[in-house]
Amino acid sequence: MASSTTARIVRPVAVPVLGLIWLAVTTMPFLFMVMTTFKTQQESYSSSVWALPEALDFVNYRAVLAGPFLTYLKNSVMVVGISVTLIVLISAMAAFAFARMRFRLNDALFGLIVAGMIVPIHITLVPIYLMTRDMGLYDSPFALVGPYVATSLPISIFILTEFMRQIPKELEEAARLDGCGPFAIFFKVFFPLSGPGLSTVAIYNAIMLWNEFIFAYVLTSSTSTRTLPLAIWDYQGQYSSNIPAILAVVTLTSLPLIVAYAFGQEKIVKGMMAGSLKG
């Protein structure tokens, strides 16, 4: 009988086998990466790729950290921190207007902004590059804030509008009876009650922007102004033959997100899926 086939083969055999095969496929590149970072450059050429390193030596990490790595890190923290704060505040305000205010053009404007999710950012690249140059912001980490916030707004407004539509009307009514105007209602009722939605938006954008490459690549050019994804790029350009050192940079840039992930997997998975799963 079919159900006994399921019971005898699918669950005890196929599930663990397939599960472990994909585990191997997923982790193999990571294993190669971490293992290689402990090898010397000489070792990476002479020994077998899959051989364990001769010693657990952090020399590559020390070399990377002795360089400008921390400057890239500082720029990333600053740019992502400022951008995410602005995204959360600005998209929450707009979402409040779309979810709870009646005005002409509400639906049309919302539709237009949501359609912005489809626009390939590459079309904005040259004009934004020229604009940044004219504004005198070229090669400053602050040049990234405007494009980062703007390109993140459509999906963030979309998520938060859906979220705020679920907040019970009674709470808003009660606040209004207490004499609250729209601003007080927003800051005292909607902003605090949107906590889970705001954290989803913050997590999603923080990860996207932490990893953002093309704007940072085009709008900055010096070591002192660039963010972490560019650290990988710049190191690769300089030390293309020192595979262990470059992979140490890759590991170090990925580490902050992996550590964060270790503490809040569920939240991060949910954040990354935001926009594709409703709400």
Binding site: S3, L23, W50, A97, F186, V250, M273
Partner: protein, 308 residues
């Protein structure tokens, strides 16, 4: 929906308060609208303006050339090859990722206690930046020192070892494999959510009626995933049409344009050949193509939705 402005008017608020409340939507929307106008709408329009110029991006020597760039684009085989590669990327993304993602979702759905830890580990590639993955896989595919060829050698398939990224026959496929490797877990989680939303009572009832688990899966659960599948296809195709980072890092579009995409071709024109005008034409054409395909796709998927 509550109506703040008319309610306050009915409440007989003073003139100043009234206008403040009428202005409220504008005030709440102003920062978002302003930023989107400056960094999204204006650049979009400006790109089309730039597409009519012959300009290296420096100084005042921009020359208006009308539709010359667009005429050039129409017969530019490199551009159409790049667009075709985008379409190949989109098609293979869907064809490879969806079945594997569904299988893994089902596997985790049945994995009991182990499913949480597997899901957490599977999801790891999605946290990596495309630059990090690009560099990592460049070494992974390395013809001499890469672990992939070493692995093939080890299992006795050394004859199949290739210069994966340096060979025009394999470059695009090698990159597509990395895209799939990274995004399959994303669609897996999407399908897991779809499976989790299948009502338990229905499968219980079907079981009581004598349906086997296999039947329930093929006849009930899989059709239930239709909506999720549509979302996944739309996301995956739109993503593929806009792809840039990973390919730029891994191959730069090469060798000989074998893995060139619209976005990498645009980038090369602007920032390597300093043809800002023609690069903007490529960017604008890419925009038109993405919007066209996306709207066809969205309309098509909606039509299906009303049918169900």
């Amino acid at each position: 929906m509550t109506d703040i402005s008319t309610r306050s008017a009915a409440g007989g608020a003073g003139g100043a308060a009234l206008s403040l409340r009428k202005l409220a939507p504008a005030v709440f929307l102003a920062p978002a609208v302003l930023l989107l106008a400056v960094y999204l709408l204006y650049p979009l329009v400006d790109s089309f303006r730039l597409s009519l110029l012959d300009w290296n991006g420096l100084g005042e020597n921009a020359r208006y050339v009308g539709l010359d760039n667009w005429k050039k684009l129409a017969t530019d085989t490199l551009f159409w090859k790049a667009a075709w590669n985008n379409i190949l990327l989109a098609v293979f993304s869907v064809v490879i990722q969806m079945p594997i993602a569904v299988v893994l979702a089902v596997v985790l759905d049945n994995a009991g206690k182990g499913s949480r830890i597997l899901k957490i580990l599977y999801f790891l590639p999605l946290l990596m930046s495309s630059v990090a993955l690009g560099v990592l896989f460049k070494y992974f595919y390395d013809v001499n020192f890469g672990p992939l060829n070493a692995l093939l050698d080890y299992v006795g398939l050394g004859a199949f070892a290739q210069d994966w990224l340096g060979d025009t026959r394999f470059a695009l496929g090698a990159v597509i494999a990395v895209v799939c490797w990274q995004y399959i877990p994303f669609y897996m989680v999407l399908f897991m959510a779809g499976l989790a939303s299948f009502p338990a009572e229905i499968s219980e009832a079907a079981k009581l009626d004598g349906a086997s688990e296999t039947t329930i899966f093929w006849k009930m659960k899989l059709p239930h995933l239709k909506g999720t599948f549509r979302t996944a296809v739309v996301l995956s195709v739109i993503g593929a049409l806009r792809y840039f980072d990973l390919i730029y890092v891994m191959t730069g579009g090469g060798p000989e344009g074998a893995s060139e995409l619209m976005a990498t071709y645009m980038y090369r024109n602007v920032f390597s050949s300093f043809q800002l005008g023609y690069g903007s034409t490529v960017a604008s054409a890419m925009f038109i193509i993405v919007i066209l395909i996306a709207s066809v796709l969205l309309r098509f998927s909606k039509r299906f939705e009303t049918e169900v």
